[in-house]
Amino acid sequence: MAIVSVKDVSKTYTLGKTEVPALRGVSLDVEQGEFLSIAGPSGSGKTTLLNLVGCVDTPSAGTVLVDGQDTAALSERALTDLRLRRIGFIFQSFNLVQVLSVFQNVEFPLLLQGGLTKKERADRVLGLLEAVGIHSYARHRPSELSGGQRQRVAVARALVSRPKLVLADEPTANLDSQTGANIIDLMRDMNRKDGTTFIFSTHDPKVMSHASAIVRIADGQVAAREGARGGAGAPA
C-alpha cells in the first residue's frame, strides 16, 4: 500500500486580491521504502507539495492520504499527532532549538511522544548520533557546530521517533556540494537500513542523481516521473 497517496490535488494561495495557483491537479503515489526526489525550478510547487504531504498544510481541492489517513478529515490535534508519530522533518535551515544541546534536540520528539524511559531514550538518541557520526558532539549547542553537522543532527531528530516517512525540503541548499552529498548519502543509508521512506525536494541535479526515483514538477503539475516505482531502497 502506498504510504502517501495524492489525488487531483490543487492548492491556491491568495495574495491580496489575486489568486496564485501553486499546485494544479497533482496526483502522486509514494510506496513504502522509496527514496524519492521531487525536482523542479524555484516556484514550481515542490515545497507546497511537501507541506501537503507533511500535514502542515491542507489542499484546496483533491485528497492527500498519509499512511492511509485523509488529512482533510483530521482535526488539528490529530494532524499534529500524525506528524509526531508518522513523519520526520528535515528543514532547509536545520531548525534546531538553539538553547538545547545536540542530545536534547534529538531527544525532543521522544519527550513529546512519551512512553519511553530515560534510559530507552538515551540509548536511542546516542545510537542515532553514532549512526549520523556526531556522537562526540552530544553536549554541544547547535551554534557550536558547522552546517553539515547541524543537518546531521536534524536527520537524527527526524529519525528518532522511527517515522514511516521522512520529508526533507531542500536539505542541502544551505550546504556546500560535498557536505550536501554526504547528507544525501547519510539519508540513503538510513533508507536502506530501516526501510524508511524519504521524500526530499531539490533543484540540484547532483543531489537528484542519488534518488531512486525523481518526480519532476513544473508549473504546479507533475511533468514526469523517472525511475523505478516501489521500494527502491527496500532491503534486497
Binding site: 502542515v56 499534529t80 522533518f89 538553539q98 513529546l112
Partner: protein
Amino acid sequence: MSARRDAIRVLLRIALRNLRASPVRTTILGSIILVGALVVVVGTSLLDSIDRGLRTSIQGSLGGHLQVYAASSEGSLELYGGLRGESLLDPIEDFSKVKAVIEKVPNVRQVVPMGIDQAMVATGNVFDIALERLRADARRLEAGERGEELQRAWEAHKAHVRRMVGLLRGEIEQALAIVDPDSQEGRDRAPDFEALQRASTDAFWEGFDRDRYGNLELLENRIAPLAMDNAFTFLRYVGTDVDAFFEAFPLAEVVEGERIPTGQRGILVGKQYAEEWLKLKNARRLDQIKDARDRRGRRIAKDEELQRWVKDNGNGIKEILLQLDPIQAEVAAARLREGLGAPAGEPLEALLRRLFASTDETFDRDYRVFYGGLAPLLRLYMINVGETITVKAPTKSGYFNSINLKVYGFLQFRGIERSGIAGMMSVMDLMSFRQLYGYVTAEKAEEIRRLKASMGAPEVKREDAEAALFGAPAPLVAESKAEAIDERALVAGAGQKRAAAEAAAARVYPREEIEHGEILNAAIILKSPARLRQSLHDVQAAVDAAKLGLKVIDWQAASGIVGQFVTLMRIVLFTALLIFFSVALVIINNAMVMATLQRVKEIGTMRAIGAQRRFVVVMLLVEITTVGLLFGLGGAVLGGGVVWAIRAFGGIPATTDVLYFVFAGPSLLPTMGGLAVGLSLAIVLAVSVLSALYPAVIALKVAPVEAMATDD
C-alpha cells in the same frame, strides 16, 4: 509518567535557557517584578504592623472590641471625635437593661457604660492662686497667730496681689476706652470697674488689715472674675463606671494620685492633655525642645521651630514673674544666679531672660536649672492632683450646667502615653457625666422636689398641664413667700464652694444607682477577640430580640476617621501598586510579544515535529512564571531585608500625635508576615500570567508551516 516529568523538565530547561539567552530583557523584566514584589512585601508588612498598633491603641484605650449605641441616633459613634466634633448620639435610657441582655451573649466578657463629651474647665488663674495664698495668711492672722515670718509672708503676698491689681487696671482701662459706657455691657460691668478703682487706691491697701475677710471677698468676687478671661479650656472626657473601665482597659493607669474611689465622684485628667493644655507654657516648651534634641537629634542652631520655641520662652517671662511674690522672687533670683553663674546683683527679669535664651551648648544646664531651682516655686500645672475643679458643659436642653469635681489623678495609657488621641481623654464618674449632660439624677430629682416645696409650687400632672396653664384660674403659686435675699449666701466664697464639692465627692453611690441610668454608648470586651465577627452578629441579634433599639459596631467603625486610617493607607498602597503593576503588565507583555515574534520559526518547528498547541503555550507560561517566581522571591527576600533593617535601625519614628497613636508607641517596628510574602508572590504570578496571555495567543496562531520558511 516519567516522560511527562521529563517533558516538564525540558520545558523548564528551555525557559531558563531562553531567559539566559537574552540577559538584558530578563534583567529589565526581573527588576520590574522584583521592585513590585518588594513594594508589596514592605508595604503590606508596614500596614499590617500599623493595623496591629492601631488595634492595640483603640481596643486598649476606649474602644474595646465592640460598641453599642442607640440606633435612633442622628450621628454615628466616633470615639475620638469626628470632623464635626462629638457624635450626636441619642441616650440609652437604662444601661442596666442593656448590660443584662448583652452579658448573656456567649464570648462577651464585660460591658462598660460610657458617655463621651466635651466640657469647659475653669482652670483658675494666677490671680486666684495669689488670693488663695493671701487668704491662708489671713486665716492664720485672724486665728491670732503672730510671727515675723508670717508677717513678712503676709506683706509679700499683699504686695503681690496689689501689683496684679495694678496690672489688671492698666489692661481694663484700655478696654474701657473702647467700650461705650452707655451700652449694655458698659452698664453691666460698671460696678466691677468701680471695685477695681477702689482696690487700686493706696487707701484700700493701707486699711486692708482692718477688714481682712471683707477686703478679700471684694478681691475674690469682684476683681478676680475680671481676670478670668482666658481661664477656660476644653476637656474631652468619658463618663464611665470607673472600676469597670480600669478592668476593661488594662492599658489605662493613673500616673499621679489615685483612682477615683469606688462609687464616688471625681475626675482623672488625661496626662497628655495636662501636659499640653494645663502646663506652664515655658515649661512645656522646654520639654518639647528637650524631646526634639534627645529623641530626634534636632538642634536649636539648625531648626527653625526650636528657635521659635526659644523666642516664645523669652516672651513668656511675664507669666512667670506674675506668679512670684517678692519673697519667692528673691529666692528664685538667688538660685538662678548660682545655677547660671550670673554676676551678683543681676535682677530676676534679666536672669530669666538669660535662662530661657537657650543655645545648644547651654540647653541641658538651663533645663536642669529650671526644673531644679525655679519650678518648685511655680505652679507648673493649672490643675493639680487633689484640687477641685469646676467643669461646665451645655446640657442637652441648651443651658449650661457646672459641677465641681475632685481631681484624683492623671490618667495615661501604657505604651501610648504620648499620644494626643488617647492621652487627651479624661475619665469621669458616670453620675457626674449624667449631671453635666442634663439628665435628672435621683439626687437632682430630690433637689427639685425640695425647691418646689420651698417655693410652694403645686404638682402639675402632665395630662393636666394645659388646664393648669390656660384653664381655670387656679393659682400656680399656692402661697407666695417674701424673704430677704442674702447676697452673701448666694455668692458663695471659694471655701464654701470647695466644702460643697467635698461633700458631694464623699458620697458613695451604690452600683445599682450607677448602672440604672442613661449612657450614650457601651464598650463590649470579648473573651476571644478572634471571634469578633460572630460576636458582633450575636450581640446585634440579642439586642434586637430584646427590642433595645441598639446598633452594634466593631472597634474600627467606632473609632471613626482614626480607624479608617489603615483602610485609607491600604487604598493608597493598592492604588499605587495597581498603577505600578498595570505599567509592569504592559512592559512585560510587550517584551514577551517581541520574544514570541522572534521565536516564530522555532515555535513553528516544534509544532511541525509534533508539539501540540498546549505545549507551546505552557512553554511561554513556564518561561514568564519562572521569571516571576525567581525575581518575585528575590523581591520578597529583599523586602524582608528592608523590614529587618527598619527594625534594626530603631523603627519608623512617630513624629506626630496621630502616628504615635497609630503606631501604639514611639516608633513602628514592622514585622513581616507570611501573608505579605504569599500576597506578593500571588500578585507577581498573576501579573506574569496575565502578561503572557497575549503572547500565548500569538504563539497559538503560529502555524507549523512557518518552520518551512527560509531564513531570508
